[in-house]
């Protein structure tokens, strides 16, 4: 890790509530530009909730509340003046289950551009191709761009969803267990992809798979019971964690 790293996302004393349930306790951490930050921890520890705070996806759930600050390039995403649609254009997301729209492969990738008012057909076609290439799926779909995305395999669908997010040229890419529904070969492809993508984007990934976190990430944050237990470089977390809880989890003694 070079010394030129820049803070992309800064989280300061973030608290999150589902109604009366206090789901995230006082989270503070930084995430760096062009680096991959992995969020790990047992089920229900709040890592996905935290991820969904970064593109304000939790706004959709009734009765949720956020306290504290979540800064993207120094600007608070939860400032009342911030347009949530604008946030989601900058912060793309790939979900746990591949969720292509019941449309053609081309239209899936073009969707984000179209809803954001891009009309230029040449530009859209160019961006679709570029995104599909970046997501390493172009060769598999270039001859059937106009057939339904639902005919693709699970792994292909997930890479299509990544392409769909990339087409928006987001600054940050959130990935919520993007490989959990995939077989090992498809998982391998997604992991290789993450390695390529971090050259252009800041990536935050939630994963249940410890090896995956170790393989793809530069930083790892360990969450437990809605609290951030420890965050450091992946190397440190996996070899000499400061907290006993982290060590126990990493070595598989619980969770």
């Amino acid at each position: 890790m070079g010394s030129e790293k820049r803070v992309k996302i800064s989280v300061q004393n973030l608290n999150f509530y589902y109604g009366d349930f206090h789901a995230l306790h006082d989270i503070s951490m930084d995430m760096y530009e062009n680096h991959v930050t992995a969020l790990i921890g047992p089920s229900g520890c709040g890592k996905s909730t935290f991820l969904r705070c970064i593109n304000r996806m939790n706004d959709l759930i009734l009765g949720t509340r956020v306290e504290g600050k979540l800064l993207l390039d120094g600007k608070d995403l939860y400032d009342p003046k911030v347009d949530v649609v604008e946030v989601r254009r900058k912060v793309g997301m790939v979900f746990q289950k591949p969720n292509p729209f019941p449309k053609s492969i081309f239209e899936n990738v073009a969707y984000g551009l179209r809803v954001n008012g891009v009309k230029d057909k040449k530009f859209i076609a160019h961006r679709v191709e570029e995104s599909l290439k970046m997501a390493a799926i172009w060769d598999e779909v270039k001859d059937r761009l106009h057939s339904s995305a639902l005919g693709l395999s699970g792994g292909q669908q997930q890479r299509l969803c990544i392409a769909r997010a990339l087409a928006m040229e987001p600054e940050v890419l959130l990935m919520d267990e993007p490989a959990s529904a995939l077989d090992p070969i498809a998982t391998q492809k997604i992991e290789d992809l993450i390695f390529e993508l971090k050259k252009r984007f800041t990536i935050v990934i939630v994963t249940h798979n410890m090896q995956q976190a170790a393989r793809v990430s530069d930083y790892t944050a360990f969450f437990y019971m809605g609290r951030l237990v420890e965050v450091d470089t992946t190397d440190v977390i996996f070899t000499r964690p400061k907290e006993k809880q982290t060590e126990d989890y990493i070595t598989g003694r619980f969770g």
Binding site: E86, R89, G92, F95, P98, F101, P102, V115, L150
Partner: protein, 296 residues
């Protein structure tokens, strides 16, 4: 005492017989419909029956052309669909996507209860409230006409359309909706571009079932359609849809007369219409069922 096995067999047999009887009776009714309706085609050809422009079953010589009745039914159904679809589908979108869950839980059952409103009540309302209103404000000869009947039928099909569409829209997976919003789409764009296309088969099914309800409905059209067996030139002309003809004339048609056979034949036509609607609805809901994350 019966053994456990014998009891089991007995229970199965009872259910089988009951199921058989109810299906058999429906088949017998269908058989009867065809037996009593088909003889009219010895007097008049199928083409003249369907496309003949004059329905004078009691004149001498009688004319058995049901074209005016057929057109009356089709117009009334089409116009009522035109009114009911925007109302029903938009209400469904509101309930499934925009209304708070609390409001949805109150309004949805109410809409479904409205489906149980007796048609005679709706007909009565059309007769004593809507008809005078149309007559006075639009300066018509009679408020009992195609438009009034369509409006009343629309109110009858709105609950069907709304309820089934709402189920379809509500069952669009949350992942699809989130996928769209995560790409920077607004809620409205998400509804139009993702949620409606994903629930289109359910919405289409609801529309066709609503139409099937409208075309077979008898009491409302008997009361408010005006009853004139002529091809309407405007939506404010009176019409005599097929079910209204059957209901109005069956009592006075002599048993096994040509008039009697003709009315049954109208019943066959009506039956074929609703059968077709239901088959189309069934086809759409099965064939266009989506796979993968978009499964309805």
């Amino acid at each position: 005492m019966l053994s456990r096995k014998q009891k089991d067999f007995l229970v199965k047999s009872i259910f089988f017989v009951i199921a058989l009887v109810s299906i058999l009776i429906l088949f017998l009714i269908m058989f009867y419909l065809f037996r009593e309706g088909l003889p009219i085609f010895e007097v008049v050809s199928v083409k003249d029956f369907l496309f003949g422009r004059y329905w004078y079953p009691t004149s001498d010589p009688p004319a058995f052309g049901i074209f005016p009745l057929l057109v009356g039914s089709i117009y009334v159904t089409a116009l009522s669909t035109l009114i009911a679809v925007p109302l029903g589908v938009m209400t469904a979108i509101y309930l499934a996507e925009i209304a708070s869950p609390a409001l949805r839980n109150i309004v949805k059952p109410i809409v479904e209860l409205l489906a149980g409103m007796p048609s005679v009540v709706i007909g009565f309302f059309g007769m004593v409230v809507v008809a005078p209103f149309l007559q006075n404000y639009l300066d018509l000869d009679s408020g009992l006409n195609l438009f009034n009947a369509s409006l009343m039928l629309a109110f009858m099909s709105v609950p069907t359309i709304c309820s089934i569409s709402e189920d379809a829209i509500f069952s669009v997976p949350r992942e699809l909706k989130e996928g769209s919003l995560a790409l920077g789409a607004t809620h409205f764009q998400t509804i139009v571009k993702v949620i409606i296309p994903a629930s289109l088969s359910g919405i289409s099914t609801s529309i066709i079932l609503g139409m099937s309800r409208a075309i077979g409905e008898t009491m409302v059209v008997l009361m408010v359609a005006g009853g004139a067996a002529m091809i309407p030139e405007s939506i404010f002309d009176p019409v005599r849809p097929m079910p209204a003809s059957i209901a109005a004339e069956m009592a006075e048609a002599p048993f096994h007369s040509n008039h009697y056979y003709a009315l049954f034949a109208i019943g066959i036509v009506l039956f074929l219409f609703t059968l077709a609607f239901n088959m189309i609805a069934d086809h759409i809901s099965h064939k266009y069922r989506q796979v993968g994350a978009a499964t309805l």
